[in-house]
């Protein structure tokens, strides 16, 4: 029994899970995805969210990614911690996505509804500043 308990603790602390919730950002009227991307980047900057990395992929497909660090949270056990990032991703197809990523010791199913308020604020800002209405559509992970 003790051995099983030890193994459980080892596995719990050794495993890292990437819990991700992805949303497609869909403008309600034709609007350049680049403009929407820049609009959200500007909004994050005004909120003081730290840009961690910005990359333009060239091969095998073109893609733009901006990664922001949101913070670290510690769970009820001192061993358990999570790192939170948000990634803005403009694909070659011209579709814009937002990934809410939690790197954690615990596997967790994403809860898209918990991000509705945040998405509402982003959409509000885009409408006020750019006049672009967007909706966030949850994308099921394969």
């Amino acid at each position: 029994m003790k051995a099983l308990l030890l193994v459980s603790v080892v596995l719990f602390t050794a495993c890292t899970h990437v819990n991700k919730a992805t949303f497609a950002i869909e403008p309600q009227r034709p609007a350049p995805a680049e403009e929407v991307l820049r609009g959200i980047e500007d909004y994050f900057t005004t909120l003081g969210i730290k840009l961690e990395r910005k990359t333009e992929f060239i091969y095998p497909e073109t893609r733009k990614e901006s990664t922001y660090f949101l913070g670290r949270s510690v769970g009820p056990m001192p061993l358990h911690s999570s790192y939170h990032h948000v990634v803005l991703r403009l694909e070659q197809s011209g579709r814009l996505y937002i990934d809410w990523v939690e790197t954690s010791d615990v596997r967790r199913a994403p809860r898209p509804e918990s991000l509705a308020a945040t998405h509402g604020r982003i959409a509000g800002d885009l409408k006020d500043r750019l006049g672009v209405e967007v909706v966030f559509r949850y994308v099921e992970q394969e």
Binding site: M1, A3, L4, L6, V7, V10, L11, A14, L51, E52, R53, K54, T55, E56, F57, I58, Y59, P60
Partner: protein
């Protein structure tokens, strides 16, 4: 029951430890003197083409805009399963400042990988010199910069 539980625990721990037993091999080389702005793309292409000719596979090419401005080519080094290697890559990195780095990175289980860049150094430098001018006194030196 107790024996079965212990055996099960030992098996799981052994599997876990085997997975964690891979060790990272990482060597960074830097080209000196640094590449001028006009030659940057040419040198990058020569280096990339040289390693593609040697059988490496271009998996990804990207341009980092922040926090550093640099062009990165990720070339996969083909490895056989029996070699017990993971994520074997050679990264060709050219920073906007002119620094060209070759980063050999892979995870190995038992036998330390050969220094891929050191083995190719002479031939590669000859190829670069031929492209940008025979007078260039080029050398690839180990670097601590990651």
């Amino acid at each position: 029951m107790k024996v079965v539980a212990r055996l099960l625990a030992i098996c799981v721990l052994a599997a876990e430890l085997a997975g964690c037993a891979y060790v990272e091999y990482r060597r960074v080389y830097e080209l000196h003197p640094h590449v001028s702005e006009t030659q940057r793309l040419t040198v990058g292409e020569v280096v990339e083409r040289y390693f593609l000719d040697k059988g490496l596979l271009l998996q990804q090419k990207y341009r980092d805009v922040y926090p550093e401005r640099r062009l990165v080519s990720a070339l996969e080094i083909p490895r056989r399963p029996e070699e017990k290697r993971r994520h074997a890559f050679l990264f060709v990195v050219i920073a906007d400042g002119g620094v060209l780095q070759l980063i050999h990175s892979e995870w190995y289980l038992r036998h330390t990988p050969d220094d891929f860049v050191a083995e190719s150094k002479r031939e590669l430098l000859t190829r670069i010199s031929g492209e940008i001018g025979a007078n260039a006194d080029l050398r690839l030196a180990p670097s601590t910069v990651r």
